[in-house]
């Protein structure tokens, strides 16, 4: 029995097909989010990879920022619960999850069975989110995927003190004009994100096993900065970006098998 989970984020779309609630049949990440062709492409592509058809799916759950605008899903669930279940599937020992998405950052505390116990989310603005990193990569004129490896070469990371994305952008431009090495600036940017998000995560209490979820978890510079701020190792699974969609597909299987009503 197949279930479908789709995570329509603000900057990317992730789709997953799961067999019997445990076997990952296919997964896709498309770097275009809600309001674009991204969600449709992600869905089409994941069916193409799996060789399945939409009618083979018994239950679909949509999550993410664009979850309210999906007309074919059987149910929608917040990305909080979906990331909790997805990371528990990928890394079962984890009890604290840090998910940095395109426009928000979250810290989740989960139970041994992957249920969401408590959460904190970013406040006020884009500081500490994936969008913040996108803006900074553009200012540094590097590909967003290069930002992590670049920062690993830093010798003297600078301090980026502004929490406002626009002011931090000015700060980075000022550092560039002072001929500060780009690697040191990249590391400073990552430290800035990590300080802000770790502060939020620590409000949930001191964590024992921590993982990062979402696309920003693929940035090795942010992960290392987060480890320093959290004072513990931070686990990252190669499928971290699809964790929300995986969680959605697991919850779809649970809802279908438990006979819970369809609540579009």
């Amino acid at each position: 029995m197949y279930t479908f989970g789709i995570d329509i984020g603000s900057t990317s779309s992730k789709a997953v097909i799961l067999k019997d609630g445990v076997e990952l049949t296919a997964h896709v990440v498309v770097p275009l989010g809600t309001g674009t062709v991204g969600p449709r492409h992600a869905r089409e592509r994941v069916f193409e990879i799996s060789g399945l058809k939409p009618e083979d799916i018994r239950y679909t759950i949509v999550t993410g920022y664009g979850r309210m605008n999906c007309d074919y899903a059987d149910n929608q669930i917040s990305e909080l619960s979906c990331h909790a279940r997805g990371i528990h599937y990928l890394l079962p020992t984890v009890n604290t999850i840090i998910d940095i998405g395109g426009q928000d950052a979250k810290a989740l505390q989960i139970s041994d069975s992957g249920q969401l116990l408590a959460f904190q989310m970013n406040d006020k603005c884009a500081a500490g989110t994936g969008r913040f990193l996108d803006v900074m990569a553009r200012v540094l004129n590097v590909d967003i995927n290069e930002l992590g490896p670049l920062s690993e070469k830093a010798e003297h990371p600078v301090s980026i003190s502004n929490t406002c994305t626009v002011f931090a952008e000015s700060e980075v431009i000022s550092q560039l004009s002072s001929n500060i090495p780009i690697e040191d600036i990249a590391a400073g940017i990552h430290n800035s994100v990590a300080k802000r998000v770790a502060g939020m995560a620590l409000r949930l209490g001191r964590a024992s096993t921590v993982a990062m979820s979402g696309g920003v978890a693929l940035n090795v510079g942010v992960v290392h900065a987060m480890e320093r701020e959290m004072g513990c190792p931070v686990l990252v699974h190669p499928l971290c970006q699809s964790a929300g969609a995986i969680g959605a597909a697991i919850l779809a299987w649970e809802k279908f098998t438990s006979g819970e009503g369809q609540l579009k």
Binding site: L117, A118, F119, M121, D123
Partner: protein
């Protein structure tokens, strides 16, 4: 504390950010108590206008100022915080915020009630040309009544009003109270100020203090406080007889009119309507009450209807609020008044007292979660809120979420972020409910 703006009214005027919103649904009939409340508010403003026309002195007052003093003297008083909340709830705040931060030169970081009111006052003073959406019913004051128990920024806000309009401030310093009790020296300090304030106010307005009238007003005020507390307490029934946000509408009875018999009639009618709902097992909450939560912080007036719609979507009724209960203050005479105002409200309470009150409410109303409004306008409340969250969550295990908003500045809120947080809270509350059901 809105001047009885119903959640239905809030849908009527399109805000700048929801101009494309669908047409409002037909209004459901208002309960009698709401109609009476509307009349009371109309009368409050009308009486102030008539008094002004007759050459009597009219005042503006901070929201937690002992209203009975002005009531005893027969003075007409209007309430800037209450008025600004009404402006914000009707989505009319934008030109005032722009005027305040622009030509008037105030900081964006200030309290949005202050920003709205300072700009409004500037229009009354002939210094600004913003169109007043209510035609200027908040008439220009001749004096100000002020305490520093609810907000420290009020002191500077009123100081500026006083300078701008060249009018006096009658002020009571209620002191910060670091203890769980009030010392007699503090009571004497506040009482002495009240005595002097009465003398000064009589001298300024030409009114005379009548002890017998004061006792009469105090009796009314006590009765109103008790009725208000009872209306709040009746929310403990399941399902709660009202949609919790509706109680916010009646706060003007306590903020602006607590010494008036018209408030007694309204609050008695409200209690009767609530009891009728309890008797019939009905509620004004329009869907099945699946979850009961408490609300911490001032209402997010510009988005009250969005807050309510979202909570309703998930079957959440807000049955307890630290906000409304702040006006259920008990005192019988001037000494009692001095003692009570040493202990009310945000600025006068220490964290231990606040946490204890909230824990008591969570238990009494059987709340399954708490929603904290992180209000950009109110730094004092934000300062305590994180620690209050941490301690209450640790002691009770009751989940919570917080959202960013503002009591009057519509620019500090995201509808999508609010819903994600509420949905996350629901998912945790649902698990807890299922776990309890499964033993």
């Amino acid at each position: 504390m809105s001047e009885n703006v119903t959640s239905q009214d809030k849908n009527v005027t399109a805000s700048p950010d929801n101009a494309a919103a669908p047409a409002p649904k037909p209004k459901r009939p208002q309960p009698k108590s709401m109609i009476m409340l509307g009349e009371q508010t109309k009368t409050l403003f009308e009486n102030a206008r008539l008094a002004k026309e007759c050459g009597e002195k009219v005042g503006w007052s901070a929201s937690i100022f002992p209203q009975e003093i002005a009531e005893t003297l027969g003075l007409n008083i209007l309430y800037p915080e209450n008025h600004a909340a009404g402006i914000a709830a009707r989505h009319q705040a934008d030109p005032f915020l722009q005027e305040c931060e622009g030509p008037l030169g105030y900081s964006n970081d200030m309290c949005a009630y202050a920003k709205v009111n300072l700009a409004y006052a500037s229009v009354l003073n002939g210094e600004s040309s913003v169109t007043l959406p209510d035609g200027g019913k908040m008439v220009k004051p001749d004096f100000l009544l002020l305490t520093n128990n609810i907000c420290n920024q009020l002191t500077k806000w009123y100081e500026n009003l006083a300078r701008q309009m060249n009018i006096p401030i009658f002020f009571i310093d209620t002191c910060y109270n670091p203890s769980d009790y009030v010392t007699e020296t503090r009571v004497r300090y506040v009482r002495a100020q009240i005595d002097q304030l009465i003398v000064d106010l009589c001298s300024f307005t030409g009114k005379t203090w009548d002890e017998a009238r004061f006792k009469q007003v105090m009796n009314i005020s006590q009765r109103n406080s008790s009725l208000w507390e009872r209306a709040n307490d009746l929310m403990e029934y399941k399902p709660a007889p009202l949609s919790g946000f509706e109680l916010f509408n009646y706060m003007s009875c306590m903020v602006c009119n607590r010494g008036k018999e018209s408030s007694t009639a309204i609050l008695q009618q409200l209690n009767d309507e609530i009891e009728e709902h309890i008797k019939n097992g009905t509620s004004t909450f329009p869907v099945e009450e699946q979850y009961r939560v408490s609300w911490d912080g001032i209402a997010c007036w510009p988005y009250l209807s969005h807050n309510l719609r979202t909570l309703k979507k998930y079957g959440i009724n807000m049955v307890a609020s630290s906000y409304g209960k702040a006006w259920a203050i008990e005192y019988e005479d001037l000494d009692g008044m001095a003692r009570a105002y040493c202990f009310a409200s945000t600025n006068g309470d220490n964290a231990t007292t606040m946490i204890a009150r909230r824990m008591e409410a969570l238990k009494k109303f059987d709340c399954e979660g708490t929603i904290y409004h992180v209000n950009r306008s109110c730094k004092v409340m934000d300062c305590q809120m994180m620690e209050v969250q941490r301690q209450i969550s640790a002691k009770t295990g009751i989940p919570f979420t917080s959202f960013d908003g503002d009591q009057a500045d519509y620019r500090n809120y995201s509808e999508a972020q609010f819903e994600t947080r509420i949905q996350g809270l629901v998912e945790v509350m649902k698990q807890n409910k299922e776990a309890r059901a499964n033993g």
